[in-house]
Symmetry: D2
Subunit: 363 residues, 4 copies
């Protein structure tokens, strides 16, 4: 059940990097939502390998098929099964991984946990698993827009290695983000980032980065204390992604250095609504959205699989070295952007439905 | 169901700051575990108000009673209900909160979500809710020690405001941590921290801080990809705590600035075991523990409730100001230390039981 | 987690027959519902021992206390903790059960499963556990009435031993049911049943019976195929009660002897609504309520604990005999009536909230 | 989430009768289990249409493909996705169902609940949905046999219409059951049943029946009071199947007519084990298996879709009549036998894993 996520909108992903394919079953999608593959494919295209010269060259069209749950263009309220076939599998490129554990990859821990693993392409620990999340996220986005026409979920690359950027979460657009291969809406920074990624790839190395996200038009009242606080579920969603090492919402770690009088967001009235004049809370207070922009950041470590020679051990317990082959992203953040958006949409949609189920008596 | 946490070891907390009391029901505790209130009370004592001169002066003994699930000193395998009565309730001190929303507190969002709230002492959003977590965490610690006698879970205050500290996660002891009121095992830093907390309290203000935690002796193989990765469940657990704004594991946000060749933890053999020579992974790779120390940090914002005058609005939507009364911690991190330990124990214990259920066929 | 029931309205019961008490935590109750102990006590009074001369003489007032989740007379949307203290515990009356397994009771299976058990009064397997269910059921009834003012949930004793009755589910009233100690609304049958129960009790024996239930005013559309079909969740709810051996809905086992042309319920229009002219479906088709009366029956075996001498074995594995002491119902069905109603209300309320969460897009 | 079943071994089925196909994702299967399509296909073949002259003539090979979770012949511990394509879809045969509600079928209730439905072949309410259950059940059987080599799960047709049979649950074999098309191991009764089914089919009508099941070699200790009692989960599993109206375990409804002294199963010692000399409990006491044969029966109503003319209404609310075309089983029980076995295996396997997770401390 470790591959199931969500309470009311519940997804179950399946699939290994090399095998019959990857997919997702979405349970709990409201009926009567117009839906077709055309709603899903664009986000898959943003995630797929081979889309630019700074990502893995693995050739996958990642064309999705909806196998159930949709009839004559609308959802039935029954499970939606979506599948993508694996095409460009090259198990031979991973043969070393059968015997050698890649440092800081999941090879060893999968072996330790399961006593068996699919070493071809990383198996289940491959980022291909996220295809199901992105497909489901596209459905979640459609549900959210049907419920809250104003809602917008955007993520972008905020830093790569030590290269920062300057982006205003209040106004950034999808077009800005998609304007370059690294998905950083600060064009000057993007140029440097792309350069850096190419450089480290040339050196057989990799780099990390930070993705920032915003939800604009999020209604107040989403999030379910005490355990399913909105930021708790967002944190879980993000830390469930490969290569993530950190999450912060609003002021984050930086906010720990402030006093309460500096950190608190004063309330005011605006057009008859309770609003805050600052947003160090990141749109969430007491675990519940307050109607302001929800803003958060996720840390992605440098890709573990690198071509440089590294000390490691073999499955048999012998000391050895490994210079990995296979096709890998030198930096995961550009392709992780749609994945972060997808997980955000899944969390918000689930909480939107939960609030619908809770808020049933007259106010 | 938002007050339920865990898959196999499942806790349900209940209770408001002012009301009949607070408590927890623990479902799924293995039978035949020796257990009494004496196993639980020490952690509650570390959490309770009034324990030192840098925390809230609310007078609560927080004496717990086990109401079910234990018979003649051992657990029955049935739900364990644990309860603590509220003693020193002073609803009159919170009367302003009936009408005024405290900036950056949960007052407004609870009102927006539920259309009603218990404004006395913060109601359900009060840190008193964490009593149930700490009690359940003490039980989880006992289960873990029964399964893995070597396991140790320790948390401590790493920073307060801008005051850092120097602590070695590999050797720090519970005695070091409990040696001072702020629970920072670096004595020089602790002195400065205590001073700072007293100072801001004197000014009617508050400060934030960071808690660091380590799990030593954690076996390899805990954590359930893809969604219930160990770091994902830890992140959720921590971000479900009041006043948290961030979580990072291992290298965290700092690790994003490294190259793969700098970040990867090389493998070696040690006493016939696969070990790493560094631990930037923080003990988790691919969502599964690798047998190294699990290390992570949590950001706590400054306490929202301060005595300084702040701009806010009333329930009726009028602009107003508020200088909060009531009894509050000027800095939450000293008392949050046992809470972080408790949530860590709950996550690990749940995953330990899940691994027991999965790993049933011969290797 | 085996003591948790429900998806959106989720209850966790706790407590043993002899111990600190019994109770329930209700998570997911909608906020703003008027609620006090006075809403709950009447159903507890219908369940409690000592209420008549055909039930166990154990003296328990079963007075409930709401410990959380309610503020100034309305629910907060936070967990509602309800507790009843055990008063008339007499562990000495059960001392034989420490060493002897009662035939067809839970003594042996609890020992086999848990390796330990609270033998005082049956511990967790005692019907006292159902106090939490009845308390939660009273809350569920209030929620249901707030959502569907016309809804009525009624259960009654349909047979005792070989004594049947004649009751019209379409018109029977709570007053009819409560008119006699056995809760059979057919007065002539009730007299015979009461006589029979007294007779077998006099002989140190026990008898079984059948409870029938109806939900009138149930809206069409409740129930969630494929696994959480309404009849599936009702069946689980009922078979989770002590002493139950069977469940049937609508035509039940008798319906297997009909042809489709005899069994099918023809549709007609009535006041602009789709209605059926017969109700062999028992108000459920394809797992979903159809707007007709939901009708079902539950089989309760004779009470296992009897005063007659029986062959059994001891904990040490020695052949022995046992004539049980302790206080027990000679027939469980009269007191099981409010428990069946409570479980019915919990299932329906949960499904009502689930339908609210699913049916969110315009029709 | 209504299409998800199980706690630790969790299955999610998907698919409509007419559409891309049907399938299941199995999450929580222990790693290192030898598994291939050859383990699954035999049970699918027992379930598939067209297998004999007393079932629906729809032509489906129902050939399954394992898409994930298996590597080099063994399970990985990751989700196992299994798929079957729909081949012989004939939507035109169901065109009347677009406008007419079949009496006692799911047509109307699906429309009422979801506001939309796939009327082709019954959509999600079609028995084709059970393909996923049967596939998953085959996996569950393999896991169970790996854990308890002695375990046997058998179901058979006990009655058809008013034709009973005589079968000894203690000794009946799979070969006996599969010896005839109706799957009744009493050959004389089987002949009559087959005749009756052909007769009613000839008349455009249908009949119901009862399936009986036994689990032999079930260890003591499975089942989780209070809500997840073994019989409760079996009842839910069975009532979640299309066309079911009742469930009874052990003595069932008949047992309500006995006295406790007649009903109780006395204990004795046999080869050092606690055994009962009778089995009116049906192998379960207090919600937990006691090591005896687990025996239960399920009532299946006559197939709702019949060729005879019936009164009904249209989607627009007009009174009309309907004589259904399409291909349907005149009696569902022969093909339901492997489905009942599958659901039984899923329930037992889930409880076996749950007991593994609970029983972790030394006895």
């Amino acid at each position: 059940m470790a591959s199931t996520f969500g309470t009311l909108l519940r997804i179950s992903t399946w699939g290994e990097s090399h095998g019959g394919g990857v997919g997702v079953v979405i349970d709990g999608c409201p009926p009567r939502l117009p839906l077709s593959e055309a709603d899903i494919q664009p986000d898959l295209d943003r995630r797929r390998p081979g889309q630019s010269d700074i990502v893995t060259p693995r050739k996958e069209e990642d064309t999705c098929t909806i196998l159930s749950g949709v009839f004559r263009g609308v959802t039935l309220g029954t499970p939606i099964s979506i599948m993508v076939r694996n095409a460009d599998a090259r198990p031979e490129a991973y043969r070393e991984m059968e015997t050698h554990f890649r440092p800081s990859h999941a090879d060893y821990t999968y072996q330790a946990k399961y006593g068996v693993r699919n070493w071809e392409g990383g198996g289940r620990s491959s980022a291909r698993e996220t295809i199901g999340r992105v497909a489901a996220g596209a459905v979640a986005k459609k549900i959210l827009r049907a419920l809250y026409p104003e809602i917008e979920i955007l993520a972008w690359v905020s830093t790569v290695h030590d290269i920062g950027s300057s982006v205003d979460a209040a106004v950034v657009t999808a077009r800005d983000i998609e304007a370059n291969a690294v998905r950083c809406p600060d064009p000057a920074a993007a140029t440097l980032m792309i350069e850096r990624i190419k450089q480290v790839r040339g050196e057989g190395d990799s780099v990390g980065g930070v993705i920032e996200a915003v939800v604009r038009g999020c209604p107040a009242g989403l999030g379910e204390p005490v355990f399913d606080r909105l930021e708790a579920d967002l944190a879980k969603a993000m830390l469930s992604l490969p290569a993530t090492k950190g999450f912060e919402i609003g002021s984050g770690f930086g906010g720990t250095r402030l006093r309460g009088s500096e950190h608190n967001d004063p309330y005011q009235m605006e057009d008859g609504k309770v609003r805050t004049t600052s947003n160090r809370s990141g749109g969430v207070q007491g675990g519940i959205s307050n109607g302001e922009h929800v803003t958060f950041r996720i840390a992605f470590k440098p890709t573990a699989t690198i071509a440089k020679n590294q000390d490691t051990v073999t499955v048999e317990g012998n000391v050895s070295t490994l210079a990995a082959r296979g096709r890998h992203d030198p930096c995961v953040v550009p392709r992780a952007v749609p994945i972060v958006e997808a997980m955000t949409a899944l969390v918000l949609c689930d909480h939107a439905l939960r609030q619908r189920a809770l808020d049933v008596l007259p106010r």
